[in-house]
């Protein structure tokens, strides 16, 4: 203990009502502080103040977003209610996938810490989301990540990106979780605010769900895992809830440090504990550490808890109660264990050499009481910490420049016309950082571990086998895709959010899986800016409406505000993850083109849509107009066709069309399968529009000649436009657009693969 430290107790708080407390420095507003005093009937102790400040931070309380996020619950489509075992509000949503199995998945941001300390920020982002999944009672089985950085050639991107990628890899690889995909995008607005969104998916018996609640007076509260140290103190409130400018260095100690080996052991230990049914409730320690775990467990359970903070195992003996309560040391969990199960619980922890300590007891007093050195330092109703934080209806205003932005449609931008110009455009686009080969990143992630990875990046979605059937039976699996497009969302947040959802949905269906549920990570600027709040409200409405139209529920997610540098916010970036299920992973469809003579079909309608496109960005550095039209009924139809075609063996390959348009998709599939193709521009379509438009609701598929009639009949019967646009030519080893240009695969590959290694070494 530092010599000048003076313990503040509940007794002292009653006796010294005017004792000054640094509530502003902890991020609380005067009104919020007044409310705390009203709740307690006295001033808070400094420990209570620490707890309220972190629990009422934007990051933990969702105070600016709550009124909007309610839509996700209210708009759950009726057909989704049967599969939704756990919805919004728990650590992660859980859906029933049949065969007695359930799947839980969630995406979460770790943006601010990853800017300050890229490696540890990204690493602990993975660690945090994995613990959320574990907490539901599930074995984590895969991770994905959606990451965004400033301009690729910017000096600071060269600092942040390699660290983030190494951090994600370093932690995930050491946990033994395959990384099966994600996103990488660059835009100057992310320079001071990179986005690191990590997704984890886990599997559990449908009847084995664990919840975060402290039920049963007399049950033990056990803290287990790593010891509590001084890292990440106040991370939640200081880092995640206020934007920072050039203060990164000073705040460095607020970023947590990860120990993946400890987490790996913790996972195995927890799974053994779950299998033996030894806990009544469990919560991981993430943002706001012990403050959050104790108050949430107590609030959701019988209602009270007594905790002796002296018993918390410490890494640093000089920590004082306020610090112990706020510490965000990683790899810790808190369980509620009935007295008759404690011995067995402790035995399993010992086998895995995991430190486990009883630090408290569940009570029915309705109070969360904490003691330290024999003095009572916290005595508060847990619900007021966990659930009854402030809720704000922040002012909302359509940004002044929104009309101007939409009005500058960019139709006058010079377009390539000749074959030679189109060829140059194709090569320039494929080599641009957003469209270039991502192997430099994904080769740093283990995609093989656990031996169930059926598809991984760069496929349209990652796919994992859940049920292994060596006798040749059906092998149940899941597919996952995460997508977002900040430029579309900037142009129209409602449509942009729907487009992100549509793309992830389409990606899942492209691989042959049926979309089932949604998670989302909403990355925005400051909620105190009415323009940003408008973007946020519109985007939430877009995701909620979109899910309703697609008939799939939002099961959870995360909001990250204050992603801005000075007064300049990032592009509004809702990142949407869609989970799908596939009855038999043997029937999946990959994106690699193969099979000589296979027929290339373009599904969906192609219009002249270049608002927010990769072409406008790369060729002209231009952002304006409207994003592509989104038609979710069409997306459903397209998905049905893709899933049926996959199941019935009517297609050899499929790839969704998104950023960069048709040429990009065809090029990626040709390079993946090392197969050439001859393309014919359909009648009535301008070659430039055909090749580079980003119209949504489209995919390209390879149909073997023997299945052509069955396939086209199905599309005709269902009313899905399908146009034959070319044929695979294995010997050709080039992409030839008839009458326009020809690019050998060798040239294409070198343009595509050189970019990221050239930038990042």
């Amino acid at each position: 203990m530092t010599p000048e430290y003076e313990l503040d107790t509940v007794l002292a708080a009653g006796e010294s009502p005017e004792h000054p407390l640094p509530f502003k420095e902890l991020g609380l507003l005067p009104d919020e502080f007044a409310r705390i005093k009203q709740i307690l009937g006295r001033r808070p102790t400094s420990s209570e103040l620490a707890m309220y400040s972190v629990m009422w931070s934007e990051h933990c309380s969702y105070k600016s977003s709550k009124v909007h996020l309610r839509q996700f619950g209210e708009k759950v489509p009726p057909q989704a209610k049967d599969i939704l075992l756990v919805g919004m509000g728990e650590n992660a949503g859980v859906v029933d996938v049949g065969h007695g199995l359930a799947v839980t998945f969630k995406i979460e941001s770790h943006n601010h810490p990853s800017y300050v300390e890229p490696y540890q920020g990204a690493a602990t982002g993975v660690g945090g989301i994995v613990r959320d999944i574990l907490t539901m009672g599930a074995r984590p089985i895969a991770v994905m990540d959606a990451i965004r950085f400033g301009a690729a050639e910017a000096a600071d991107t060269g600092r942040v990106l390699p660290g983030v990628v190494a951090g994600i890899g370093g932690y995930g690889n050491c946990l033994g979780l395959p990384n099966i995909g994600g996103e990488l995008a660059f835009d100057p607005t992310y320079l001071g605010n990179p986005l690191v969104n990590a997704l984890c998916v886990g599997v559990l018996p449908a009847d084995g769900i664990k919840l975060a609640k402290a039920d049963g007076p007399g049950s033990h509260v056990v803290l287990f895992g790593a010891r509590t140290g001084g890292d990440g103190i106040g991370g939640a409130s200081v880092l995640a809830s206020a934007s920072f400018e050039a203060e990164g260095e000073r705040r460095r100690p607020a970023v947590q440090v990860g120990d993946p080996f400890a987490e790996k052991v913790l996972i195995e230990c927890c799974l053994e504990i779950f299998a033996a049914d030894l806990v009544t409730g469990i919560q991981d320690l993430g943002a706001a550490g012990i403050s959050c775990a104790t108050s949430e467990l107590a609030a959701a359970g019988t209602g009270g808890m007594d905790v002796d903070l002296d018993l918390v195992p410490l890494r640093d003996e000089t920590l004082v109660p306020e610090e112990i309560l706020m510490s965000e040391s990683q790899e810790r969990m808190m369980a509620v264990v009935a007295p008759d199960k404690l011995e067995e619980f402790m035995a399993i922890c010992q086998r895995w050499e995991v430190t486990a300590t009883v630090i408290g007891t569940v009570t029915d007093t309705g109070r969360l009481v904490m003691r330290w050195h024999g003095e009572t330092i916290v005595d508060a109703p847990p619900g007021t910490l966990a659930n009854e934080g402030p809720v704000y209806e922040r002012p909302i205003r359509r940004p002044y420049d929104q009309d101007a932005l939409n009005g500058e449609h960019g139709n006058g931008l010079p377009r390539p016309k000749s074959g030679e110009q189109l060829r140059a455009t194709a090569l320039k686009l494929i080599a641009s950082p957003n469209l270039a080969d991502k192997s430099w990143v994904t080769d740093q992630y283990d995609r093989y571990v656990l031996g169930n990875t059926v598809l991984a990046q760069p496929e349209d979605s990652g796919m994992i086998r859940l049920v292994e059937s060596p006798e040749g039976g059906k092998q149940l699996g899941i597919a996952l895709s995460v997508d977002g497009n900040g430029r579309y969302t900037r142009l129209d947040p409602y449509a942009g959010a729907k487009l992100a959802l549509a793309e992830a949905y389409r990606n899942v269906a492209t691989t042959g899986a049926r979309p089932l549920a949604v998670t989302n990570c909403l990355n925005f600027g400051s909620p105190e800016d009415p323009g940003v709040m408008w973007q946020f409200a519109e985007a939430v409405r877009g995701v909620a409406d979109g899910c309703q139209e697609l008939g799939i529920p939002v099961t959870g997610g995360n909001v990250s505000f204050y992603n801005q540098t000075g007064s300049t916010p990032i592009l509004p970036t809702p990142v949407v993850g869609v989970l799908g299920v596939i009855d038999d992973v043997e029937r999946r469809t990959g994106q690699a083109f193969f099979g000589d003579g296979g027929l290339l079909y373009l599904l969906g309608d192609t219009a002249d849509e270049f608002g927010g496109s990769e072409w406008a960005h790369v060729a002209h550095g231009f952002l304006g107009g409207k994003p592509p039209k989104v038609d979710l009924a069409r997306e459903r139809l397209l998905a049905d066709i893709l899933i049926n075609a996959s199941r019935d063996g009517l297609i050899d390959a499929a790839h969704d069309l998104s950023d960069g348009g048709l040429f990009q998709a065809v090029a990626e599939s040709c390079l993946r399968g090392d197969a050439g193709v001859r393309l014919i521009v359909p009648d009535g379509l301008d070659p430039f529009v055909f090749l580079f438009s980003e119209s949504a609701g489209r995919a390209v598929v390879v149909v073997p000649r023997s299945e052509e009639i069955r396939f086209t009949d199905m599309c005709t019967a269902r009313g899905l436009p399908a146009r034959r646009i070319g044929v695979l030519d294995i010997l050709e080893s080039a992409i030839e657009v008839q009458g326009q240009f020809r690019i050998p695969l060798l040239e294409l590959r070198s343009a595509w693969t050189a970019t990221l290694p050239g930038l990042f070494g």
């Binding site: 052991v265 992630y445 571990v449 031996g451 292994e468």
Partner: protein, 219 residues
């Protein structure tokens, strides 16, 4: 064999099962090897490996028995981290250091099988080229000139990388054996290439059918 930080132990179990043998999980804290006839040390990070890969694992109770067994001719295959453990335990010469490009690398790697008379590679043709996953952060095989010459001279280089050297290993060495040929260390992962569905090929399966063959022949 499962250390607390083993990651590919389930994959190794699956590969052994697909090869037709009966896999048994061994626990790092137990000395007794039950009655297993061969041991696979899987990939992963045994005890976290913050010190040096495999440096702590070699002192585990189970490793004592494995070292004894290996010296008495029991077949042992160390994959990736398992290879690192075997080097640390001095069952194999040399060491594995951080990749020369300083990054973790995961990719499908072409190899040439150079020695086919070991317990683990008798199912391959001499010089056979195979494609199996490689994934490591510290996979650069190093040894002094004398040791390298000795390995080459005695034909103990079991597999060599083809194409770009992925991690800076001396003489493109991907795997080696001890003099007797019962202990093999390999940096790439044959257990990830045993099913068409999940691997880049099924070229890895022969490591596991090889051991079964050699055990059956002995019996």
């Amino acid at each position: 064999m499962t250390f607390p930080g083993s990651l590919d132990d389930r994959d190794a179990l699956r590969a052994i099962r697909l090869a037709g043998a009966e896999p048994v999980l061994l626990w790092h804290g137990e000395k007794w090897l039950s009655d297993v006839q061969a041991v696979v040390l899987p990939g992963g990070f045994s005890y976290g490996d913050y010190l040096r890969c495999g440096a702590i694992a070699r002192f585990s109770p189970a490793m004592e028995s494995i070292v004894d067994g290996a010296r008495n001719g029991m077949p042992v295959l160390g994959i990736c981290n398992g290879f690192q453990v075997l080097c640390e335990a001095h069952l194999l010469p040399g060491a594995l250091i951080r990749n020369d490009h300083r990054k973790f690398v995961c990719r499908d790697q072409r190899l040439r099988i150079e020695r086919t008379d070991t317990a683990w590679t008798n199912g391959y043709q001499p010089g056979q080229e195979i494609l199996i996953p490689l994934k490591n952060g510290e996979g650069g095989y190093v040894a002094d000139q004398h040791t390298l010459d000795e390995l080459e001279g005695e034909g103990r280089v079991v597999a060599r990388y083809l194409g770009d050297n992925p991690n800076g290993s001396y003489r493109d060495i991907a795997g080696i054996s001890n003099a007797a040929g019962n202990v093999v260390g390999l940096m790439p992962h044959p257990e990830h290439a045993v099913e068409d569905l999940t691997g880049p090929s099924v070229d890895g399966l022969a490591f596991f059918t090889s051991i079964l063959n050699s055990l059956v022949e002995q019996a």
